[in-house]
């Protein structure tokens, strides 16, 4: 058994529960590897039984029996509506049938651009990361993108080393100018410290809510760029006993992630 931290839940559990609450019943959501999978499974068991999950290799509308650990595994199309292929899914996103896209990255900038390709200079990287995978496609074509990240100054940077996945690029109007579909883009960032959105005019990241026990100052200190602050910054409620129970006994009962 993994031990939850002293205040009753681990940072991963907090991320999962916060992300799960953003998954709306009767919507379509592109689910990336890791925490989005746990969040989708939790959301289905809590408030969103009709959440239609979509995985990049074709799984559409699965009802999770076991936790998917890879985006092409059996769980991604268990009792699904369709077991399609990669083109079908990507083309559906390109036609605006996938409402939410849940993804991650190693670095994020104020405009929600994500890096999952290299740390350092491209031709002489400090760390070569896996690359775009489906990330760029989700950030390009899904209606609204939700990034799930650990929050610290090495990850939240004014300028990231490589723009793998488009957020608002260089700011207002930049997505449309680049040819990306109008009205699409980053919507939320869920972290262990906060829930963030984007300022409607400047398109820069906007602090909306702090996670339990976290102050606005702590969020600002752990962000490597100037954050916009919402007029009213709310306090995000902690994971409920029910959420934690379902997460631990049903979603990830083998404790692969939490």
């Amino acid at each position: 058994m993994n031990n939850p931290v002293s205040d009753g839940y681990s940072p991963t559990e907090l991320l999962v529960c916060t992300a799960a609450r953003m998954m709306t019943d009767n919507t379509t959501a592109f689910i990336g590897t890791g925490i989005p999978m746990l969040a989708a499974s939790l959301a289905q068991r809590m408030h969103a039984p009709n959440l239609v999950t979509i995985f990049e290799f074709g799984g559409t509308g699965a009802i999770f029996k076991t936790l998917p650990i890879a985006v092409g595994g059996e769980s991604t199309f268990h009792r699904a509506i369709a077991a399609a292929g990669l083109c079908e899914v990507m083309e559906a996103a390109q036609r605006d049938f996938i409402e939410y896209g849940f993804i991650g990255g190693a670095q994020i900038d104020p405009y929600g651009n994500l890096n999952s390709t290299v740390i350092g200079e491209y031709y002489h990287p400090k760390v070569r990361l896996p690359g775009s995978g489906g990330g760029n496609d989700v950030g390009s074509s899904c209606w609204q993108t939700i990034a799930i990240m650990r929050h610290d100054r090495r990850r939240f940077l004014e300028k990231i080393d490589f723009v793998t996945t488009p957020g608002y690029l260089s700011g207002p109007g930049a997505r449309e100018a680049a040819g990306l579909p109008p009205g699409t883009g980053p919507y939320r960032v869920v972290t262990n410290l906060a829930v963030l959105g984007y300022h409607p005019q400047s398109k820069r990241m906007l602090l909306l809510a702090t996670q339990p026990g976290v102050t606005v100052e702590q969020v600002v200190e752990n962000t490597g760029f100037e954050l916009e602050l919402a007029d009213e910054i709310s306090a995000n409620p902690p994971p409920s006993a029910e959420e934690l129970h379902i997460l631990r006994t049903e979603v990830d009962k083998d404790r692969l992630y939490i």
Partner: protein, 330 residues
């Protein structure tokens, strides 16, 4: 059409669709028995310097029996396209790869690929070109359609595009910027399927990734199959033929060919073995020892399975989720 931006990545394989047509015209259209051993298939259809593709999702349905044989035969200076996890790692570990079109090279939950880093940093992999997943699938699809490029609305505005070989043009119909990705014609595709007949007609259960597109983008296709079935099974359910025989050059009977990866409905992934590879791949010496044991140290896939052990394989089979895996017909 005005070109607004050109990616600075190298176009590793030129999209010569006329040459592809000529090649395809020469391919036999007769229903002939193409069953052979993996040794014969790789020897006849994979050559040094070839551009090869493996069709899979993560470690699901990865064509390991064929990849291992490529390594045993030491086919070198390969160019590869990936979506790669364990199978690309093995090719890289054997230092057989010279150029790569990549979208994702890594070990999923186990993080970055050590051999990828070593091969890139040492310069043995000379060329890396970035793409998104949809972009690579669209490149296969362009070839499958027999056209030199496809417009997509991915990669626009990003460094992924900058370091690719894509182009952004002003769309002649709408005036909007649009990304064009070039058709990718592969010399050889390696695909593992649930079942095929002796001619190469193949069925895949569950999701199909980019199998249909990639099979149609290859000059040569080598199929390995969990089961070899009678053509009557194919004819009873022609709607299930995802790869028709005329694309296929070789059919290899290979149960558990995705090991240590998984085959949906058939067997789960061998997590312990994957962890063993993740561990071994940390250092060159342990990487070599792994290759010596599991690839160079066995003659063929059959011997590999014996080395892994039937009891272990049966256990992986028993753990597969209980969706019925009966033959669709007869």
């Amino acid at each position: 059409m005005e070109v607004i931006q050109s990616g600075i990545g190298q176009l590793i394989q030129k999209p010569d669709l006329n040459a592809f047509r000529e090649w395809n015209r020469q391919k036999p259209k007769a229903l002939i028995d193409k069953r052979m051993t993996e040794a014969e298939a790789i020897d006849r259809f994979v050559h040094d310097g070839d551009y090869i593709g493996t069709e899979l999702y993560g470690t699901v349905r990865c064509p390991m029996s064929l990849v291992n044989e490529v390594v045993r035969q030491g086919k070198k200076d390969l160019r590869v396209v990936g979506q790669g996890v364990y199978e690309t790692d093995i090719l890289l570990a054997a230092s057989l790869v010279k150029g790569m079109d990549i979208t994702y090279i890594g070990l999923e939950v186990y993080g970055v690929s050590n051999v990828f880093r070593r091969e890139v940093e040492s310069g043995r992999v000379e060329t890396c070109v970035e793409w998104s997943n949809a972009a690579l699938a669209a490149r296969f699809k362009a070839t499958a359609m027999g056209v030199p490029f496809i417009p997509i609305r991915s990669m626009l505005g990003t460094d992924t595009l900058k370091y690719s070989a894509a182009k952004v043009v002003e769309c002649p119909f709408t005036g909007y910027p649009i990304c064009l990705v070039p058709a990718l014609i592969l010399d050889v595709g390696l695909i593992h399927v649930h079942r095929a007949d002796k001619f190469g007609n193949a069925q895949i259960d569950g999701i199909s990734g980019f199998a249909a597109e990639m099979a149609r983008a290859c000059k040569r296709v080598i199929i390995s199959a969990e089961d070899i079935i009678d053509t009557e099974v194919i004819r009873c359910h022609p709607d299930r033929t995802i790869i028709p025989y005329y694309l296929v050059d070789a059919v290899v009977y290979a149960p558990f060919a995705s090991h240590p990866g998984e085959m949906c409905y058939v067997h789960v992934r061998d997590e312990e073995h994957i962890k063993q590879w993740v561990e071994a791949s940390q250092e060159p010496a342990t990487t070599q020892a792994y290759l010596d044991k599991y690839i160079y140290g066995v003659k063929n896939h059959r011997e590999y399975l014996e080395l892994v052990g039937w009891e272990r394989l049966e256990r992986l089979k028993a753990m597969a989720q209980g969706v019925d895996n009966e033959q669709p017909c007869i």
